[in-house]
């Protein structure tokens, strides 16, 4: 391995232990580049099936001629991977890529939450040809600690797993971008309260059909809610929410009157940890008469004016 002169062998990369080859592959990242190493030599032939990080980005695979296009490529790689765990998986679809079928998406998610231990990021965009709603089912058992799910597909509905069987104890961070919540099955607040006991950070942006969010969480430290147009009730009990961690707001430039425009009640029980609560609420809210904010350390005396910031 070491000839003492400091100079490595000519075919030095083949002299590296598997462990180091995997460290290198984890920086190669792109799934197709990783898969292509199969033809480097006999030793590399099956190296890629154990890769710890895989990044599928439809932008990098614009003219993917794999059978089934980009989604077909993802299917193929996942099917040929060894039955080993991995650290991170990214499936990033853009507008131009061929849309994945609901069955494909379900299969990817089922595979991912069983095999990915650290980080799972999935973005699904693109329109379904028949304009039918696609139901994306969150699987019951999850071993992943970080999940970011971006469902910008028109009409994609996020269905949460049945509370009795769901196990999301490993999950510490959950990011949901433009999820449409299903009328059937459990609601988000109940799912987080009963199944995600280790969740420390929850971020929801542009949810559709999220009418109320009632949360009870011991571990939750950060909660962010953006563009929650449908939200009527926000009721959070989280003793460990941290300073500066709760935002119900719009990003700058977005017209404030579209933001949580009809929150009827807001309850936040969060003890002394929470020092700042920022709410951007329209000045001319149509339902201003019933808009009230209750917050334990504010003694129920706050009504929502145009904008409040509590120190």
């Amino acid at each position: 391995m070491d000839d003492g002169s400091g100079a490595g062998p000519r075919d030095w990369i083949s002299a590296l232990p598997d462990e180091l080859l995997h460290v290198i592959l984890s920086f190669v990242d792109d799934a197709r580049d990783i898969m292509r190493t199969a033809v480097l030599s006999r030793r590399w032939r099956h190296m890629w099936v154990h890769a710890k990080n895989l990044n599928f980005c439809s932008l990098n695979l614009k003219n993917c001629t794999a059978p089934g296009g980009f989604p077909g490529f993802v299917d193929w790689v996942l099917a040929h991977r060894a039955e080993t765990t991995m650290d991170s998986l990214v499936i990033w679809m853009t507008q131009k890529s061929r849309a994945a079928s609901p069955e494909q998406i379900d299969a990817w998610l089922r595979y991912a939450v069983r095999h990915v231990l650290k980080s799972l990021r999935v973005q699904l965009v693109g329109e379904q040809k028949d304009h039918k709603a696609v139901v994306v089912l969150l699987p019951s058992i999850c071993r992943t600690s970080y999940i970011s799910l971006s469902l910008s597909t028109n009409m994609s509905i996020l269905q949460l797993p049945a509370l009795a069987t769901a196990n999301y104890e490993a999950l510490t961070e959950l990011y949901l971008h433009s999820p449409s919540f299903s009328e059937q099955g459990p609601v988000l607040g109940d799912f987080v309260t009963s199944c995600c006991h280790s969740l420390r950070r929850l971020s929801i942006s542009a949810p559709k059909a999220l009418f109320q969010l009632v949360l009870r969480s011991e571990e939750l430290q950060q909660l962010e809610i953006y563009w929650a147009f449908d939200l009527r009730t926000l009721d959070v009990t989280a003793p460990n929410l941290r300073v500066h961690s709760m935002f119900v707001t719009a990003i700058s430039g977005f017209p404030a009157r579209h933001l949580v425009s009809s929150v009827a009640s807001l309850l936040i029980r969060c003890s002394r940890h929470l020092r700042l609560l920022r709410l951007s609420i329209p000045v001319f809210t149509p339902r201003r008469d019933i808009a009230k904010c209750f917050c334990d350390n504010l003694e129920d005396k706050w009504e929502i004016p145009g904008k409040i910031a509590l120190e």
């Binding site: 400091g6 030095w12 083949s14 033809v39």
Partner: protein, 174 residues
């Protein structure tokens, strides 16, 4: 070599340790720098490496060790700050410039470095070299990778296997 206010509060002067390469060269270095190595850190915490003792590193030759220590000395202040929340953008840019320059070296040295980083468990250095090698693989055709990384020519048998594979999964190699 007096370094004020560094080390573990040992009255001003930084604690020094001695490392001995496989070819018996002795390197004296601040404990804080050597502790970037997880393996050395344990020995150093136990009080090893000081005085005339020295820590023998039978797997690392002097040329490699001096290069490894160059990296450790440069990165020790930032590591001591625990990811350096107070590091300025200038400091970070300087470290990045150093890193880029540092791995702009012959492949045989890359090999010795990544092996040493692996054995000594210096994660930052291992990642730095791995990233450099990954850049030689990214976006390249298998032929280019084999040429760049100096793979030996395949045996006719291997070549036949590869051709069959590429024929079957041609879409992956376009």
């Amino acid at each position: 070599m007096a370094a004020p206010e560094s080390g573990d509060g040992n009255n001003g002067a930084a604690r020094m340790v001695t490392l001995i390469s496989s070819d018996n060269t002795r390197f004296e270095v601040e404990a804080a720098a050597a502790s970037l190595s997880q393996t050395l850190q344990l020995t150093i915490l136990d009080g090893g490496g000081g005085g005339g003792d020295g820590i023998p590193l039978p797997n690392v030759d002097s040329a490699t060790l001096s290069k490894v220590l160059e990296y450790c000395i440069k990165h020790a202040p930032a590591a001591a700050n625990g990811g350096a929340p107070n590091a300025t953008a200038v400091d970070r840019a300087e470290l990045e410039r150093f890193d880029n320059e540092f791995v702009n070296i012959d492949q045989s040295v890359l090999y010795s470095l990544i092996m040493a980083a692996h054995n000594l468990e210096i994660e930052g250095l291992q990642s730095l070299v791995a990233k450099k090698v990954a850049d030689m693989i990214k976006g390249k055709s298998p032929m280019e990778i084999r040429r760049t990384l100096g793979f030996p020519d395949p045996t006719p048998e291997e070549q036949a296997e590869m051709n069959a594979h590429m024929l079957e999964y041609g879409w992956a190699y376009e």
